[in-house]
């Protein structure tokens, strides 16, 4: 039948008349096929866990056999041993993190976290590269994360840091150690809340912050950072309000913000992550109206005056799409992406940027490389739990 003009109504009607399509496979057979696939998945994961201690043992045996042959050069031995021992320590740390990720997946909480551990080669890659990682995806039951934050030298940006501590004490007990952790890492002058004590009440979504008597805000830059630091420290626990308690009778004076008794904490701020002093990933905040494409573009700009370096090199270009809670990046640049420290930093900075925009996973498409560090480029990658980890 030919028509001069098709009308929407007719097309709708035809669509509604399309034939029904039914599955001819019986329910029981379908269930068997699904069950088989589900059980086929499991042994592979158990094998992966066993491979890690085997690899560690092999490294140890290799070192023990190599050291005597190097005995002619004492300095060389000393240097090598120090380096190798450091690597072994790192290997052990990464082992703990990986096993915990796998057990998390088993519990069914995060199926995608372990998705990028799909091959043995990648796990070997994990062991070599995780020490360079600026993020943490999860910690085991024997560890907790103490979220903290310091200011940069010029009081412009918040540097989030995540202390990974043994899970011996309660969260509030861990926060009592925060002054010590900061001193040990040489952060004293950048940590604005030295001498403060914290009482987190997760059930009320509230944190009480007792500030020391000598607490003062010396500049408007510090005052602006005050709120951002509290937000960075406590929003990961789902805290929505900070109650500020001063030892004196007066409310806290935040200079330009004025005197306040409490602060509302937002879930997260939109930001582009850049590298501070070549060491820490730092969120550079955005306006609310910015979108993720703007954020990815912004990551290509360094801010030398503030020691912030771009995290996406000039030669790398992406087109950006999003599907629900997944961010999809399509590589459109001409240069070949290689597995370098710079690439790992880029991936992790993008993951953190995506997280700040509310995405849960990021998929890198058309990258021309199967894996960068322990990130599988063929699977969606879960956004991290924490940034700038420091293992205590």
């Amino acid at each position: 039948m030919k028509k001069e003009d098709w009308k929407d109504k007719e097309i709708r009607k035809l669509l509604q008349e399309m034939p029904k399509v039914t599955d001819e496979i019986p329910k029981v057979i379908l269930y068997e096929q699904i069950s088989k696939k589900l059980t086929d998945d499991k042994p592979a994961k158990n094998q992966k866990i066993k491979l890690i201690p085997v690899f560690t043992t092999l490294v140890a045996i290799f070192l023990l056999s190599v050291i005597p042959f190097l005995i002619n050069d004492r300095n060389q031995i000393a240097n090598n041993y120090a380096l190798d021992y450091k690597d072994m320590e790192n290997t052990n740390e990464s082992t703990e993190i990986m096993i915990s990720e796998d057990s998390l997946e088993k519990s069914g909480e995060e199926s995608t976290i372990a998705d990028y551990h799909d091959s043995t080669e990648l796990e070997m890659g994990d062991l070599e590269t995780i020490k360079d990682s600026n993020v943490v995806h999860s910690v085991g039951n024997d560890s907790s994360i103490v979220f903290a934050a310091v200011a940069d030298k010029q009081f412009q940006y918040v540097i989030p840091v995540s202390f990974i501590v043994p899970n011996k004490n309660s969260l509030n007990e861990n926060y009592k150690q925060l002054d010590n952790y900061m001193k040990e890492e040489g952060f004293s002058s950048e940590y604005l809340f030295e001498g403060a004590s914290y009482e987190i009440e997760p059930e009320n979504k509230e944190v009480k912050i007792q500030l020391p008597t000598n607490f003062s805000i010396d500049s408007s830059a510090e005052a602006n950072l005050f709120k951002d630091i509290i937000q960075t420290m406590f929003s990961p626990y789902g805290i929505e309000k900070a109650v500020l308690i001063s030892e004196g009778e007066e409310p806290i004076d935040l200079g330009p913000i004025g005197q306040i008794n409490e602060l509302r904490i937002q879930e997260s701020n939109k930001a582009s992550y850049k590298l501070y002093n070549s060491e820490y990933l730092v969120p550079v905040p955005h306006q609310l109206e910015n979108n993720i494409s703007d954020a990815i573009m912004e990551m290509k700009n360094s801010e030398e005056a503030f020691n912030l370096t771009k995290t996406i090199p000039d030669s790398i270009h992406f087109s950006v799409e999003s599907f629900d809670s997944e961010l999809d990046l399509f590589y459109t640049g001409d240069s070949v992406i290689e597995e370098t420290e710079e690439s790992i930093t880029m991936i992790e900075a993008i993951l953190m940027t995506a997280k700040s925009y509310g995405f849960e996973t990021v998929r890198f498409n058309e990258m021309g490389i199967d894996a960068i560090g322990h990130y599988n480029m063929n699977e969606p990658i879960q956004v991290p739990t924490a940034v700038n980890p420091i293992v205590k």
Partner: protein, 177 residues
């Protein structure tokens, strides 16, 4: 049998199968994707928070799995084209997985609509299938595709317009012959 599987199968299986089939138009691929969808459902049901209905949750998983399939096909096609470097000719390489139509449709008009669905974008095709073949409401479609209600309406309008344009073109060619 896992109660979660049983529950979803009884309530939605044939609808789910039909949706995936119309999206990919290949029975074998549909069977594989449907299995993958159930595996995801079984793995993540414990984290289903009930913020959406079970139905829209299931179909949003189906949408993800189907879109992933399209992306993997696109990557495969790009690799083949890169390999041969056929330039403009590469654009006309037929889909490597193209198969004879698996759905026997008697009516000429319906068969044309079925073919022309592939001329729409994936978003338009998803909206048209959900809205008219599956008879989902605008709200349900919005939740499944994570669109706003107005975006569903706009995409639906554009999808119908694309079909109309191609139907008119086909008619035009027919008349010229």
């Amino acid at each position: 049998m896992e109660p979660v599987f049983d529950q979803f199968y009884e309530k939605y299986h044939q609808d789910l199968f039909q949706f995936v089939f119309y999206m990919v138009k290949d029975r074998e691929v549909t069977e594989d994707l449907v299995q993958e969808i159930y595996i995801k459902v079984l793995k993540s049901y414990s984290s289903f928070k009930g913020e959406s209905s079970e139905k829209t949750w299931l179909f949003s998983i189906a949408r993800h799995v189907t879109f992933d399939y399209f992306r993997s096909q696109k990557r495969k096609r790009n690799r083949i084209m890169d390999f041969f470097d056929w330039g403009e000719k590469g654009e006309s390489i037929p889909d490597q997985n193209a198969k004879p139509e698996e759905l026997a449709i008697q009516s000429d008009e319906l068969r044309r609509i079925y073919q022309l669905l592939d001329k729409c974008t994936v978003d338009q095709k998803s909206v048209l299938i959900l809205r008219f073949i599956q008879s989902f409401s605008v709200q349900e479609t919005a939740k499944i595709l994570n669109f706003s209600v107005s975006k569903v309406k706009t995409t639906q309008h554009r999808g119908l317009k694309a079909l109309r344009k191609h139907l008119d073109e086909m008619d035009q060619k027919g008349t010229e012959k």
